[in-house]
């Protein structure tokens, strides 16, 4: 393969941007499904970082780690969706701010 034509720094910057978009989404959005999607975004940002470094340092462990993270993310999404369904079945709204039972 030829050497990377895109500098590593660009990949790190992109990953950071995607990560912070994900964080912003978790903090700002009130719909639990959107929050879960934002969490997935954060996972993918981390994944991008792993893949970029694995290519930059020609080390295959990074590529393996991407597969692990994808698996964990999928499992976590499944469980997260299950919790959302359970909680919001009784709450009858899809607004996270309305299930503040732990207030005070």
């Amino acid at each position: 393969m030829n050497a990377m034509t895109v500098p590593l720094a660009n990949y790190i910057a992109l990953s950071a941007v995607i990560f912070f978009i994900g964080v912003a989404g978790v903090i700002v959005r009130r719909n639990p499904l959107i929050m879960l999607m934002s969490i997935e975004l954060m996972f993918n940002a981390a994944n991008l970082l792993f893949a970029a470094f694995a290519r930059a340092w020609l080390h295959n462990a990074g590529h393996i780690f991407v597969f692990l993270v994808i698996t964990v993310a999928a499992a976590e999404a499944a469980i997260g969706l299950a919790i959302v369904v359970t909680v919001f079945r009784s709450a009858k709204t899809v607004d996270v701010d309305d299930v503040a039972l732990m207030k005070g």
């Binding site: 978790v26 903090i27 996270v96 503040a100 732990m102």
Partner: protein
């Protein structure tokens, strides 16, 4: 100070009255009538024990350079330096003889006087308790024991003044006496602190042995504090206001406590601490002056009283002033001699006036008496001899003792106290003869309308016994028997008031002087300008003037006929300063009572609710505020928790990236 040994009689003497008190307290209802003879018998036994110990009390022993006089019974040692025991030396013996002897006579008198009262046994319990307390005071060989006795006699006085507790005036008088006495107790306490700080011991022997080693300013402070105590107990200015009100108690109480014994405790204290006073001239001036002023003040106020017991109360105050003046200037034998003779004639006067009060069904105002010469001849003889004794008519006991005090004042270098003593003697003669003449001469004024006599509050005049009489069964039944119990003690006292003074005749070689030869310091004195004999003559002349004035005002045929008019005029024109007792009561009320009440109100209304409660409430409020603050973090919102998570992670990363130089 005394010859150490084992004296079981002394311990018995001291504790028997306590046993009598406890028996009467516990078995009062069962004892009923026998409480009186039981209590009297106990005191009589103590008196016999005192006589038994006479020889031991006057023994001398020169041991290791120290002169030991009297009997010393060590009791127990609390800690080193705090040894408690009993000391019976000539001074203590004299007081014990009076306490048990005159006390016995008064107990017997009370059997008759308190006859019919429902609280008969309680009275005798209190009386026995008083004798025990007074004995503790005079028999202690250390300052703390003396203070214990001091406090207990104050308590006994409170019990007995307020004996008829359903009378609000009696209760108020008892409280007043006790509160003023507490002031004195505090004074003695401070003196004890100072003495202990100086000599590290509390026994008289140690305190006096090093009398010349006290720092002079401390010695004056000690004497001052001791004298505050003496002034409170002995009703000297300015702590004298409780004594006239103490007459609310039954007459035997007035006779025993407020004439013969308790009020003389101050005189005993000064006489006992003679070694301390002899070292400090300033203290002597203080005591002598206050004694002299009290003598004068008491006499002046005695001229303005209409209640027979109050006249005697002010008279007591005045005579104790003489005693205090005597022991203050250094004439210890004289002051103590006056205590001795005064105990007899004052007890006699009080008991005889009790006979009059009893016979007139509890009338105490002399304006409503009169003409009793024929009705109560024995009472007349008793009061007349008492009056002659207190005036100091030559030959009677009062003459010898008063003369010793007055010429002692001159001999020790106090000419103005000498003059004061002579003038007061004249005033004494006037008001005592006034009492005699108004009570016994003329015609009986009991039926006269009170306002015609100038009485403004007739309902306040002598209702003491009638309250107790409410609980009496038939008055007549007991009258005959009870009379004898009252008459015999007075009859026994009469020869003592008349003749006992003769043991003081002879100056240095009299039995009296020899009795106290080892007891008191005898500094060498310069020859006084006026000899003792001449002093006696001058005093007698002044006394005759006083008697003459009283005669002209109350005893002439004309005066007797117009008695009602004259008494009314005298009552109406009595100056306010005299009826209000020189406004001492008003001053004390303003200074202390009102201030204390105001202070109490301030504490109750402002300090307590706002400051103290406020501090507690503030603590609660700040705890609540802090809790509210912390609670504000618990929003229950998932998003804010997420934010905090992110924020914390960011801080960590920032720290490692920027501050700590990156992760290697």
């Amino acid at each position: 100070m005394g010859v150490d040994g084992y004296y079981p009689t002394l311990i018995a003497l001291w504790l028997l009255p306590l046993a009598g008190a406890i028996l009467n307290w516990t078995f009062g209802p069962q004892l009923r009538r026998t409480a009186g003879p039981l209590a009297s018998g106990v005191i009589g036994a103590s008196f016999v024990a005192t006589l038994w110990l006479w020889r031991d009390a006057t023994q001398h022993l020169a041991s290791g350079g120290v002169d030991l006089v009297g009997a010393h019974q060590a009791l127990f040692s609390w800690i080193p330096g705090f040894d408690f025991g009993l000391l019976l030396d000539p001074l203590a013996l004299l007081w014990t003889l009076i306490i048990t002897g005159v006390g016995f006579l008064i107990h017997v008198y009370s059997i008759g006087y308190m006859d019919g009262d429902t609280a008969f046994a309680r009275f005798f319990a209190y009386m026995n308790f008083f004798v025990f307390a007074m004995l503790t005071l005079v028999l202690s060989d250390n300052f703390v024991g003396l203070l214990v006795g001091w406090g207990l006699v104050g308590l006994a006085s409170y019990f007995l003044i307020g004996f008829w507790f359903f009378k609000p005036t009696a209760v108020a008088a008892a409280r007043k006496a006790f509160v003023i006495n507490v002031v004195g107790d505090v004074g003695i306490m401070f003196a004890i602190f100072a003495i202990f700080a100086s000599v590290h011991s509390l026994s008289f022997a140690d305190a006096f042995a090093y009398a010349d080693s006290y720092a002079t300013p401390w010695l004056f402070v000690i004497c001052l504090c001791l004298f505050i105590g003496a002034a409170a107990k002995s009703a000297q200015i300015p702590l004298h206001t409780w004594l006239p009100d103490a007459m609310e108690g039954p007459t035997p109480v007035s006779a025993l406590i407020h004439a013969a014994t308790m009020v003389t405790a101050g005189v005993y204290l000064v006489a006992r601490c003679a070694p301390l006073w002899s070292q400090n001239g300033n203290a002597q001036v203080l005591v002598g002056t206050i004694g002299g002023l009290t003598a004068l003040l008491g006499a002046i106020l005695g001229c303005a009283q209409w209640d027979i017991k109050r006249i005697l109360a002010y008279s007591t105050m005045s005579q104790i002033g003489y005693m205090i003046m005597g022991v203050g200037v250094g004439a210890y034998e004289g002051g103590v001699a006056h205590f001795f003779t005064h105990a007899f004639f004052k007890a006699q006067l009080f008991l005889a006036s009790g006979l009059v009060i009893h016979a007139l069904h509890d009338e105490q105002d002399v304006r409503r008496m009169g003409g009793l010469l024929k009705k109560l001849p024995f009472a007349f003889v008793a009061i007349a001899t008492g009056v002659l004794a207190i005036c100091g008519i030559p030959g009677f006991s009062g003459f010898f003792s008063k003369d010793q005090v007055i010429s002692g004042a001159l001999a020790h270098g106090y000419p103005w106290l000498y003059t004061l003593g002579i003038v007061t003697a004249g005033i004494t003669a006037y008001y005592m003869c006034r009492l005699l003449f108004v009570t016994f001469l003329g015609s009986y004024r009991g039926q006269v309308d009170p306002s015609d006599l100038g009485m403004r509050h007739p309902e306040l005049a002598g209702t003491s016994h009638s309250a107790g009489a409410m609980a009496q069964d038939s008055h007549e039944e007991h009258a005959a028997n009870a009379e004898w119990f009252m008459i015999v003690p007075v009859a026994i006292l009469i020869p003592f008031s008349v003749f006992i003074g003769w043991i003081m005749l002879g100056g240095e070689s009299s039995p009296w002087a020899r009795f106290f030869a080892e007891q008191f310091p005898h500094p060498a004195l310069p020859q006084p300008p006026v000899s003792e004999g001449l002093t006696g003559l001058i005093t007698f002349a002044v006394v005759l003037v006083g008697i003459g004035i009283a005669y002209v005002r109350y005893a002439t045929a004309n005066a007797q006929q117009n008695a009602v008019e004259r008494l009314r005029s005298e009552s109406i024109h009595m100056p306010g300063i005299l009826t209000n007792a020189f406004y001492f009561d008003a001053a004390l009320d303003l200074l202390f009572v009102r201030t204390s009440e105001a202070l109490g109100r301030f504490f109750g209304r402002y300090l307590d609710p706002h400051v103290l409660d406020g501090a507690v409430r503030e603590t609660v409020i700040s705890a609540q505020w802090l809790g509210a603050l912390t609670r504000s973090f618990q929003t229950g919102l998932v998003r804010s928790y997420a934010f905090i998570l992110v924020f914390g992670a960011a801080c960590f990363i920032a720290y490692y990236a920027i501050v700590a130089g990156g992760v290697r």
